[in-house]
Structure formats: C-alpha cells, structure tokens
Amino acid sequence: MMKAKVVVMPKAAVLDPQGAAVREAMRHLGMREVKNVRIGKYLEIDLERDDADVEARLHKLCRDLLSNPVIEDYQLVKE
C-alpha cells in the first residue's frame, strides 16, 4: 500500500486572511518573532496501487478537486 501526502497552500501572491489573523494573534501572545503565517490543508491518501497512471490521475484530482488552481498551489509527495 502506498501513501500519498498532499499539501495545498494559498498561492504566494494571494491574500490569506486566516494566516494573517493567526499571525496577529501569535504576536499578541508575545511571539514577536513571527513574520508571516500561511495556512493550508494537509491530506493523507492511502492508495491500493501506485503506477504512472495512478500518479497522473492523482495529479489531475489535485488540480481539479483538492486544490483550486486559481488561488492555491499543491504539492504531492508519495512514500
């Protein structure tokens, strides 16, 4: 069995209101070193089988379903 790990993050140039609010909260709580916070999603996906076809389809779903390519980037790592 294979595990795919997908991280979906807001694109660098896109505003991340949640990250900004958390950054401010962390600073208010004394963590003055915090420069920036960005919040994304992390998915763990168990796969029955892994080959080029599965990987290609997984990438497609990363683009179509798991992330919104208009505002998000994703990273897919398999182990």
């Binding site: 991340d16 208009v70 505002i71």
Partner: protein, 798 residues
C-alpha cells in the same frame, strides 16, 4: 528606485484597452506622452467599469430627482433617500459577474464586500443585502436553445450542467461566507437559471444602510492641507486591473487571468466597517471613499475631482503585503477592504486612536492640494502626475451604433402550433413541472445558508414577494425587491424594462409598501455590437418611462457590459432593485393564505380577456423548451390602478395575503399562496367564468379549430403571464366590502375561489383539475436541493 517600465508603444496602448483616439486625448490632457504608470491609470479610469463611457448617455435618460432624494445618482458611491424623522437610507446594487465566472466563491464574496463598503462609505450602517443571481441550468431540461444544435452531445450537456452547478454552489457559498461573517443579513432577491448564462453568470448584489441625515459622509477631498489616510488591508497584487478585466468579454484565456482574482476577508471588513462608522460619528473626517474598482487610483482622483482640489500621495507610505511592488501595481491593485479617508487637519489623532482600537492598519500617505492634480510620488520621485478632473470625469463618451435585433417572431396565436396539443393530464403535469423548475421553485436551500436573522430585522422570512426589514434604531419598516425577467428583455427589451420596474413596484405593493426609489444593474453584452447596444438603449428607455410613472427615481447602480461567453451573449438583464416604505406594522402583508374559508380575489384582468398571452412565458420555456412569443403588454395605467387598489385595501386592513402573478402565471401564484410556512393550505378556484370571454368578444380561430382547444384555453388562463395581476385573500366577512371598493374604483377583478384545507382544485374551461398540495409543495420546496445534492437528507420545512 525607478523600475524599468515598458516603453509606450501602440501595442502597449492597445493591451490597455485604449483606442488610438483615446490615447491622443490622454496626450492632450497631459500635454505630453504618459509614462507606463499613467497609462495604467487612464486605462482603468476610462474602462467601461469606471467611466461608463458607452452607457452614460443612456443612463442620463433615467429620472434621478425627487423630493426625497438627498444624494443623486452619480454624485457619490450610493444614492441616499430620506425616509422621514431625520433618517435616510443609502442603497446600491453592483455586479461581480466576471470575477465570479472565474472564481465563483471569491468572486461572489468580494462582490458582497464591495457593495457593503459602498454603503458604509456614505456613513450608513449596512442593514441588509439582497442578491439577484443568474446561472446556466442546474437540471437537465428536456430541451434548450443550445442543445438543439448538432455539436452538443449528451455528454457535453452533462458536463455543462455540472459546471453550472459548481458555479451556483460556489457563488452561494461565497455570498454566505462573506455576508454571514460580517453580520449583514441576506434576506431576499431572485435566482434564475437559463442557458444564456452558461459561462457568464450574473451576480448582482444589493445592500442597504441606514443613517441620520447629519451623518452623511462625502467622497470629496476638501480643505487644502488636510491629511490623506489609507486605512484597512495591506495592498497586494490582487485583482490587478480588475476594472479593465470587467470591461472585456470572457474568453478561454480569461481563466489564465489569474492575478485578477481577489480574496475577500470579511473579518477585516467588519473591523473596517466598525472603525469607519465610529470615526464618522466624530467630527474628524473631511471626506471618505472606498477603494473598489481601480483601487487607490480611483479613490484618489475621484475625491480630488469631487472636491475641486488636488491630492498628492506617496506610495512608499502605503502598507504593502508583498515586496517589490511597482507604482503601477500599487495604484492598480484591487486588494479588498481598503478605504481612503481625508481627515481634518489637527484631528488626525482621533482617527489613529479609533483605528488602533480596532486593530486596523492606517497610514498617512498624502495631503489635499489646491492645484487640481493627482500627484503620485514614490519615495520622492514623481511616478504619476495627472489633472484629476479630466481623468475622473472627462473620459470619452460614446454613442454606439444601435441595430434592432431581428429574432424569429412568433405571434401569440401561433404559439400552440409550435407545441404538442395539450390534454387535461398535461395541464395537470405542467403545473408540477413549473413548480419544480429551479427558477420558480423555493430558494429555501439557498436562504438556509445565508444568515437572514442577524440584526433582528427580517420580520418576513425570505420567500415572500418582497423582503421586509424592520430597522429598529429608526423604527421604520422597509421593503425591498429585485426583479427582472431576462427572457422578456431578450424578446423585447423595452417592454422587459418597463415590466421589470412594474413588477418590482408590484412586489413592494403586495408587501404593503409604497415604492420610494430604484437602483439598477444593467447587465448586457459587448456594446460595440449594435444589437447589444440596441437592447441596452431599449431597456433603459423602457425602465426610465416606468420609473417616471411610478415616481421612483433611479439613485444609481451599476453597468456591466461584455457579458458574453464563447457560447454567446447573455439574455439582457436590467435588474431593478426597488425600495419601499411600510407605514405601519399592521400593513406588512405576505403572499401566503392565512385561514381556511378566506375568499380569494384576483385583482386585475383575468388572462382570457387579452387573448392567449402565453408569449415569453415560463410555461413555454419549462414545458417545451421554447423562448418564443410576444412579451406580455404592460398597460401602465391599469398597473397603477391595480397597485393603488391593493395598497388601499391593505391600509383598510382587509387583505390577509397578496401575491403577484409573475413567472408561471395565475396557477403558480395561487399555488405558492397555499405554501404558508406555518401550515400548508389549499385552494378551491373556479375560473369557469373566465373562459369564453375574449378581448372584444372576438372568437379566436385557432381555438375553435383545434381539438385540444379547451385544454389550450385552460393553459392560457392558468399559465399566461399577463401583467398587472395580484391574487389577494380576505376574511369572508370583508369580501363584500373589498369587491365594492374595487368596483367603485373601476379596477378589474374577479372573485375566484376560497382557501380550503389541503388540496388545490381548479375548475377551468369545463375541466376540473386537482392536485394534492403536499405533493406540489414537495416538488417546489425540494427542487433545488434535489438538483444539487441528490442523495442528502431532506430539509425539514414545517
């Protein structure tokens, strides 16, 4: 550090959407060649979105003044109307069509954020929102205008419907996300589905706010030397040149216009709203303007232009989210949740303290000058220097070529030749199909996702003819509605425009309100195409005429052109949002029948008095996929008489329910009246008196010759969308009085039945038709949920 800006070439000019003539005009205004930043500034300010260069001459046809109007159309961000006792309302409707086509969730969310900002910029507290939405079909219709072609396969169709659903879901979630978080209830509006909106949905958002007359804030830079503050979110590369983006047709490449997507932060805007209203209650503000389309550019030159002054700002002082932004990018960014405030000199600390309290960034970025220039510095060096007034107010105005759109016209009497011969059972079935049509069906699935109870003013649940909102602090009851039948406008834009205004007024009347004023959102195609421009002109002239007759001036609004996708242009949609005042709480009227035994009266002419009148009906569209026939004619004198009569009857306390006949005609109006949210009721309707009587007593040949003529006649009576008709119900003991009032005022009417327990019976043309109300209600109540979430649990309705 000066950036290496591109040289100004004819190609660069064209990429900015400016014509050679416009470029020549720019050079004349400047007395020299513009630099790259200045070119960008002109391109957004002179885009259709900001300058209305192709529509302004048409807009001047609207009536804009009236005794109650405190701020007229075009003067400020939103019109302001007096409602008495020192209170006023500010309201406006605005579109976010193109951003929503690209990214429905954020597009719709930032649309809500933008219109709310327009309202609190006026010093008004936002009280509620409405929205008028149009999408491609979310159910598989039996036919449609684009399915008929040979190219569209069933698979394509399914994929297109899935896309339409995704857009619909995204937009609804986006509106919910922003509106719910900021705490402004969404309490009404309309949602239509039609193939013409595939790929280019229409997202028109309306917001209304309340203010004391003395709180009225102006977007003018007054007082030379007064400091200019930037407040709110930091500037990023969001929505670069979104105004220019909104002024083009959507193409396949639009999806690649990634930077044009802005992300909204309703939390930040809530803080901005509270901080601005707290600040405006002090005497520290000389002028205030939101940064919407064209961001910092627009707010700077417009405030200077309105104030007859100049403004000088330094971009190095603007809070930025990203490093390395060029002046061009900072000036054209459309980052959300930002405002420009001109403070009174010496009162800067009041502003600073309030914004510190709310943790909203603020920065002094410049000052008001007396030289009439918009001067932009970047760390000392001048990045742009443009005379503010010509930039803001002297965009070229065009009169585009208009050419009558020639469509295949179908006479009303021929309508039945184009559809199968109806039978009694098909008449029964037609009502069910209409009720389950997502356009007519209950929108509860949507309204359940919008917080409509926050601010404790929604005294009528969403779903009645008009939204009714009690503004506690002013002790005033307002009614508001948005209306437009795009199909009517596609067939006959002038009549469609007149009807949009009449229907809006009718909906307000049904809720017990007196109409006050209008804000409109004109959604049309590329104005350079003569047919599109003709539609725009016709619709505007029709609306203007009706607004004059109803005494409802237009206080502003929005024009959205270029609403086209690769598949074609949208059906023209001049959305009318109308606001009215309800004098007393006891006048609030809803569309739902209240008691068994109440008498049902149709105010207005029964359908059969004016031939078939099935043209442009939802019946033909839903049951047969036809968008044909002449648009119902609006007799505006009759309309006024009907509305005045119903309003008078409501004031006399005789009306228990009032519902206008619109999409789906009399049958749908009566059925919807049965769907009382507290308890389903039925109706026993006898329309046999309506049959046989024809306009001028003429016998219609078609009816006489066709075997299905009685069923045809029944269809015409039940589903005609003849205008100026309102179904009311009243206590039987008042029925005589109601009928005599109508008679003495010479208003056509008919007593058509009574409210019964739980089925719908209609006698028409010797046919006795019967439906179970519970079944009809289920079709109507669950249609949208079934379309979008086929396998989930039902929503408890009662």
């Amino acid at each position: 550090m000066p950036t290496a800006d591109p040289a100004i070439t004819p190609e660069i000019v064209e990429e900015h959407g400016l014509t050679p003539e416009e470029f020549a005009r720019i050079k004349k205004i400047l007395g020299r060649e513009p630099n790259f930043t200045e070119l960008g500034i002109f391109s957004v300010m002179w885009s259709e979105h900001c300058s209305y260069k192709n529509s302004r001459r048409e807009l001047k046809k609207f009536p804009t003044s009236g005794p109650n109007i405190l701020v007229k159309a075009g003067e400020e961000n939103a019109g302001v109307v007096d409602i008495g006792d020192g209170w006023a309302i500010a309201f406006k409707i605005e579109s976010h069509n193109h951003p929503s086509a690209i990214e429905p969730f954020q597009g719709a969310a930032t649309g809500v954020g933008g219109i709310i900002r327009d309202i609190f910029t006026m010093g008004a507290r936002p009280e509620f929102c409405l929205n008028s939405l149009r999408f491609g079909p979310i159910t598989d219709p039996c036919s449609s205008r684009r399915v008929g072609g040979t190219s569209a396969t069933a698979e394509d169709r399914r994929s297109q419907i899935a896309t339409n659903r995704r857009l619909f879901l995204g937009v609804v979630s986006g509106i919910a996300h922003y509106g719910n978080c900021i705490g402004v209830p969404t309490i009404g509006g309309e949602i239509y589905f039609d193939e013409s909106f595939e790929g280019n949905p229409l997202i028109n958002v309306f917001c209304l706010g309340i203010l004391r007359h003395e709180q009225l804030a102006r977007g003018a830079a007054r007082g030379v030397g007064n400091p200019v503050f930037y407040v709110g979110a930091e500037t990023g590369r969001d929505g670069l040149a979104g105004a220019a983006f909104a002024s083009r047709e959507l193409t396949e490449e639009s999806r690649e216009d990634r930077p044009a997507v802005q992300v909204g932060d309703p939390f930040k805007e809530k803080l901005l709203l509270e901080a601005c209203l707290e600040l405006l209650a002090t005497n520290a503000v000389a002028g205030i303007q939101d940064m919407g389309a064209a961001g910092l550019t627009c707010s700077t030159c417009e405030t200077a232009s309105r104030g007859g002054s100049g403004v000088e700002i330094d971009l190095s002082k603007v809070p930025k989210r990203e490093p390395g932004m060029t002046p061009y990018e900072v000036l054209l960014s459309e980052s959300q949740e930002r405002m420009l405030i001109i403070a009174k000199r010496g009162k800067e600390n009041i502003l600073r303290e309030i914004f510190a309290k709310w943790d909203v960034p603020c920065a002094e970025i410049g000052r008001v000058t007396d030289d009439g220039m918009m001067r932009v510095r970047d760390n000392g060096s001048v990045a742009a220097e443009i005379p503010a007034k010509p930039l803001a107010e002297e965009a070229p105005l065009y009169e585009r070529e208009a050419r009558r759109l020639t469509t295949e016209s179908t006479q009303d009497t021929e309508v039945f030749k184009k559809i199968p011969v109806p039978s009694t059972s098909s008449v029964v079935e037609s009502l069910k199909l209409l009720l389950a049509d997502p356009t007519i069906a209950s929108k509860n699935w949507v309204y359940r996702q919008y917080d409509h109870t926050v601010r404790t003013g929604a005294v009528v649940k969403p779903g009645s003819d008009a939204a009714v909102f009690y503004i506690r602090e002013a002790n005033k009851i307002l009614a508001a509605t948005t209306d437009c039948n795009s199909l009517y406008c596609a067939i006959d834009p002038r009549e469609g425009g007149r009807i949009a205004v009449a229907e809006a007024a009718r909906n307000l009347t049904c809720s017990g309100a007196r109409p006050l004023a209008v804000t409109d959102n004109l959604n049309f195609g590329n104005p350079y195409k003569p047919e599109n421009f003709w539609q725009l002109r016709e619709a505007v002239e029709g609306m203007a005429e009706a607004c004059r007759v109803f005494g409802t001036p237009v206080t502003g609004g929005n024009v959205s052109l270029y609403n086209e996708s690769p598949a074609g242009v949208v059906d023209p949609t001049p959305t009318v949002a109308m606001v009215g005042l309800i004098n007393e709480e006891k006048h609030i009227t809803t569309q739902w029948f209240k008691n068994e035994g109440d008498v049902i009266i149709l105010v207005g002419s029964p359908a059969s008095d004016c031939s078939y009148n099935l043209g442009a009906s939802r019946f033909l569209k839903v049951c047969f996929g036809k968008k044909i026939g002449p648009v119902p004619k609006l007799d505006i004198e009759l309309e006024i008489a009907v509305q005045n009569a119903v309003r008078d009857l409501i004031r006399l306390g005789f009306v228990r329910s009032a519902h206008d006949c619109s999409e789906g005609g009399l049958a749908v109006a009566v059925t919807e009246s049965c769907f009382n949210p507290d308890r389903l009721l039925g109706a026993d309707i006898d329309l046999s008196a309506c049959s046989g009587r024809r306009a001028g007593g003429e016998q219609d040949k078609t009816a006489g010759e066709t075997p299905g003529s009685t069923a045809q006649m029944a269809c015409a009576i039940l589903f005609s969308e003849a205008q100026s008709r309102i179904v009311i119900s009243c206590d039987p003991k008042n029925a005589g009085r109601v009928l005599s009032e109508l008679k003495s005022n010479n208003v056509p009417h008919a007593q058509i039945g009574s409210v019964i327990r739980d089925d719908l019976r209609i006698s028409v043309c010797d046919q006795k038709l019967n439906w179970q109300i519970a079944e009809l209600h289920d079709l109507w109540w669950n249609a949208i949920r079934r379309a979008v979430e086929s396998d989930s649990e039902p929503i408890p309705s009662l």
